[in-house]
Subunit: 203 residues, 2 copies
Amino acid sequence: MARAVQQRTLKTRARLTDAARQIIAECGYEGLRIEEVVKRAGVAKGTFFAHFHDKDALMDILIGAEIDSYLDRIELRSPPRTIDDLLDALLPLLEFMSCERYVFDVILRHSGAAACDAIGPIAETFARHDAVVAEWLADGPFRSDVSPDLLAQGIQAFSVQSIALNFCAINNTVPLRTRLSEYLTAWLLPGSQSAAAHSAASA
Amino acid sequence: MARAVQQRTLKTRARLTDAARQIIAECGYEGLRIEEVVKRAGVAKGTFFAHFHDKDALMDILIGAEIDSYLDRIELRSPPRTIDDLLDALLPLLEFMSCERYVFDVILRHSGAAACDAIGPIAETFARHDAVVAEWLADGPFRSDVSPDLLAQGIQAFSVQSIALNFCAINNTVPLRTRLSEYLTAWLLPGSQSAAAHSAASA
DNA sequence: TTTAAAAATTGACTACGGTCAATTATAAAA
DNA sequence: TTTTATAATTGACCGTAGTCAATTTTTAAA
């Protein structure tokens, strides 16, 4: 039978994640180097990889925790009654997701997009996000011809697309919120706007 | 003033891309190593980086060319009259995009998602894809309350989401086509299905 | 031709993620 | 306590992307 986890193990792991968080605060996620993490944690390089499968796994944990803290705040809100309400709720999280190009890449790799045998922290947050939003939409003032869960998945697809386009030099003239607002209005309130209005907006 | 491009330059570049294509045929995109490329091309490592900014830039070019060949075939088709028509047109490309986890990652990094100062080949294909699909939708049997261009962007968002979910262990029970069909029906033909039907499909 | 500037190529070198056989620390059994 | 099995740690080592000062080749002007 398996032995209990040693105190030493927990301590080492905590030292590693603490060091990582410290480095991220100083240099950003992109600036994190494993060699610097183990140096600050006072352990050998191999120890890191005994605790985390690879660098991405550490990022998955740290970024996943950050996303979770945004979801905590999102969950406290009452269901949005308008697209603007919805955007108010979601934008802080989306802004974190796009705080660094590298962070967005990590999230994309792990969100559903992850070749996850076991589901990781970021993938969990995506499921949680879906659940929260689906519950909001279950009896809101939005379209009801498709399931709330499908609507929630669509919101994620459009959120990701909006962030992706915002990273692109030729497309980042439109603010994230504006772009996403246009998508979500078309997705959640079909028929509420004329084609002409949209042509004007995108021109 | 700038001198003309030397023949030597074109030859070296061709040898590099030929070698790369050969390796990809043998080992897949993921299996490509720059050292193997320069070895087969008969040049030094530094030469590679004089021709391509980095490995990703080579992948951008090769994968972009592949996507373009799919778009060539897509462009020949007459505008789809049904969601199934549309899926028939798009699926071969989407299957290529998901042929390897690595390929999908490269595409995500470069498609709009790319921090592109100058727009790269893959980003170009996304713009081209949008243009083709938008033209199809301009006077098709689909919703007309939003602009064809916005509809085309939505199709891309849902395509990416469908592929991403298909890579995920817990979500890949549903075939890509089925999942995308559900999204596109809700996106392009709002009101055509009951919420009950969708709940049943996703359960 | 000769020469000088520009372009292309070279390969030793660095950075950094990740591996693994050997070592040390811990906890349960004798 | 001593012994023994298991868990945790170590650091030299590897693979591979990417760099750059030095060298060679090309082109065009003198």
